[in-house]
Amino acid sequence: MYEDNPGYNISEVLSNPYDPALSKKLYDPKKPMANRITDIGPPHYEQFFPPVIKKNYGKWKSHEIVEPGILKYTSETGDVCYVVRCGSPRLITTDLIREIADIADKYGEGFVRWTTRNNIEFNVDSEEKMRALVDDLKGRKHPGGSYKFPIGGTGACVTNIVHTQGWVHCHTPATDASGVVKAVMDELFDYFTSQKLPAQVRIALACCLNMCGAVHCSDIAILGVHRKPPFVEDDRISGVCEIPLAVAACPLGAIKPATVELDGKKIKTVRVKEERCMFCGNCYTMCPAMPLADGEGDGIAILVGGKISNRISAPKFSKLVIPFLPNEPPRWPTVVNAVKNILETYASDANKYERVGEWAERIGWERFFEKCDIPFTDKSMDDYRLAYDTYHTTTQFKWSVHTDNL
């Protein structure tokens, strides 16, 4: 039924070399609708399936992780497919993508896939090809010595960190994304290439509370947070945004319309009730004259114990355990150590199959803070909407360092 969509079979358009002059002939700014193709959607996926995938679609019977990063799938037809999974920094250049295309041509019949967590997967149909591919990938390095295609990210590991834009492309971040991720993954590299954790540990980073990476259900979440209320640029505000929208943006009603005198003229602006502000940045999203960023005020909060999968226990939100750590480019040592400490405390204490959140719930959060040696502060106690749901309303608790001096 989609046969008439140009994206249904794109082999012909792909076989023509790129013609940079074509768009000039087609696009006329005076008649913008002329020659315009719209609403065709993405190309049809099936034409990008490797032959072994196409043939065995829906017939896969089981799989096995041969070694970290290498999966073997067996089909009811007897066919097998090997998948080699490699990490990537997500922020990659066309040169690297061309290199990936070359590798796909050499080993994978010209096909390659990306995973949800920004890993690259090369599919090959025999063990020989898989071994040759693995040897090849291991030898590819950047000039500074880092791997271009580290193999891992399967099973009970720390797989790639999903993350957002940070200082590389966004206007609201409270921290960087790519830099922090590089620093953390360098330190946890061994956990990416091995499978020695009790279960998989998903780490995610979002550089502000908008959480484009949806970090709120991760085993360990690294979250950029602001700590200073927004500026109000009285001389700019009415020119760049609508005051009622700025007022309505605040979930806590902390923004009120105001009139002030500037150079003898009365102008409309807003005022922020600073003690009410929770630094969410929503005002800045709506109004460019209310920036929050501040080198000293901004930093990182750590949340733990979330999960997505429905395995054993229901999906969970991540919980805030460290309210603030400073931004320390280029390597964020305090953040890196905090993440590593939580990971390794968990690794040494949790049962097989237990996710970070399941472990924390089993031992109790008081014990979590004790074992991880993280100071508990009132900032970990909810005071937003529905906060009461998280309070302890029982006499059942554990004795821990927090009660030992009573």
Partner: protein, 428 residues
């Protein structure tokens, strides 16, 4: 060497060392080969490392004619220092479902982006698009024409639109998939092109499709409408393979725990005792499952993929309303439809979508996510508008307060009463 200028970036350069792939090296090499934008980007990042603040301005409104999304405007606030990234807009290109590519496709995309833009990308954005990172306003239309004419590709969603749907690898490679995830994803994307390109919603709306309750695309946490595969019949058991796991011939969890000695596999402790519903037991040397009690959590199947497989009477569970914390706090999707068949043309599902979109477009406030509307107007209103029957599966437990909003029709005699009659029975 091309005529380019490298900035002094000592802090950023520190991120070249270490084993994890260095984005700095990749970008710098690209820059030295002739792309000044790459070197300027690293230069501006160094400045951000120094100030610990971003140097991007609040985005401007840019786009391609006729579309209200797909392009994110971005301008540097230090354009004099870094002129080649003064304008640095992003284009979101709708990925093929589950992100398989041919090398020919990738190369041509690279040709376009080397010519039209910075040569930098995000493969991929969090929502799933191929993100082409950084170009100038005058290149937006030519890039769009290049994409549509020479790649048969289209832009993805941004703003108050349907966002680009995404899905897991599904039946293409995963034996657990209960859904044709790519087909669903592709079909919805095509069906709702207008909603994807032209903002008509109060805010963004997301569909995500996972083939089974492992939920590899995090649908339950990230989508307004989560489509997650499930089954109604029994888990398929191969008793011989169960014995092979017990005997140690097969590796538990497909070898996912190979890096550590966890001792010999213990079926009782690792599977039967961890089953959240306690519905598994041994009968002689056979593993039995009381399927009526199973909640399809996937644990046993994950541990013994050779021995256990989902059933074959498959469909989807639909959950609604997930979102990140802004504004009313984070929400996960709430169970709406326990089981629905997902076969083309997906009429029953699309019918449901029409109903909830009608409600949201009528009642939703500006920048109110669908999940927030459910919160504000109530789950009962959601069920009424979606014409769904309340079932106990929708709640963890019944409410503990008695503050029920009865309607007049539900109470015999309605709410019209005569106070005089009342007082005739009861003196004031």
């Amino acid at each position: 060497m091309a005529d380019v200028k490298k900035h002094d970036t000592p802090m950023v350069d520190d991120l070249k060392s270490g084993p994890w792939p260095s984005f700095v090296d990749d970008i710098e090499q690209k820059g030295l080969a002739g792309k000044q934008a790459c070197l300027d980007l690293l230069g501006q990042l160094e400045l951000s490392f120094k100030h610990k603040e971003t140097h991007w301005k609040h985005g401007g409104i840019v786009g391609v004619f006729g579309y209200g999304g797909g392009v994110i405007g971005r301008y540097s606030d230090v354009p004099d220092k870094f002129p080649s990234i003064a304008h640095f807009h992003t284009m979101r290109v709708n990925q093929p479902a589950s992100k398989f590519y041919s090398s020919a496709f990738l190369r041509k995309l690279c040709d376009i982006w080397d010519y039209r833009g910075s040569g930098m990308t995000n493969f991929h954005g969090s929502t799933g698009d191929m993100v082409l990172l950084g170009t100038t306003t005058d290149q937006l239309e030519p890039t769009f024409y290049d994409l549509t004419y020479q790649m048969s590709c289209d832009l993805g969603g941004s703003g108050s639109n349907l966002r680009t749907p995404s899905c897991c690898v599904g039946k293409a490679r995963c034996e657990w998939s209960c859904l044709d995830t790519q087909q669903i994803c592709y079909d919805l994307t095509q069906e709702y092109q207008d909603e994807l390109h032209r903002p008509a919603f109060p805010y963004k709306f997301k569909f995500k499709v996972s083939g089974c309750p492992n939920d590899c695309v995090a649908a339950i946490a990230r989508s307004c409408c989560s489509i997650i595969g499930t089954w109604k019949d029994d888990i398929r058991i191969d008793q011989e393979a169960v014995k092979a796991y017990v005997g140690g011939e097969l590796k538990p969890n497909a070898g996912a725990h190979s890096g550590r000695d966890w001792g010999a596999f213990d079926l009782q402790k690792e599977v039967i005792d961890l089953c959240p519903t306690g519905c598994m037991y041994m009968y002689g040397d056979e593993l039995k499952i009381n399927n009526r009690e199973c909640t399809r959590c996937m644990h046993c199947i994950n541990v013994m993929p050779e021995a256990l497989r989902p059933g074959t009477d498959t469909g989807a569970t639909i959950l609604c309303g997930a979102k990140a914390p802004i504004l009313e706090g984070a929400q996960m999707s709430t169970l709406a439809i326990p089981f629905i068949r997902m076969e083309p043309p997906f009429d029953e599902f699309k019918d449901f979508v029409d109903k909830i979109w009608d409600w949201w477009m009528e009642e939703g406030k500006n920048r109110e996510r669908f999940g927030e509307l459910i919160q504000r107007e109530s789950i009962q209103e959601f069920l009424r508008r979606a014409e769904l029957k309340p079932i106990p599966q929708m709640v963890k437990e019944p409410r503990s307060n008695p503050y029920v909003f009865w309607s007049a029709e539900e109470v015999p005699g309605g709410w019209e009463r005569d106070i005089k009659e009342f007082r005739a029975r009861h003196a004031a």
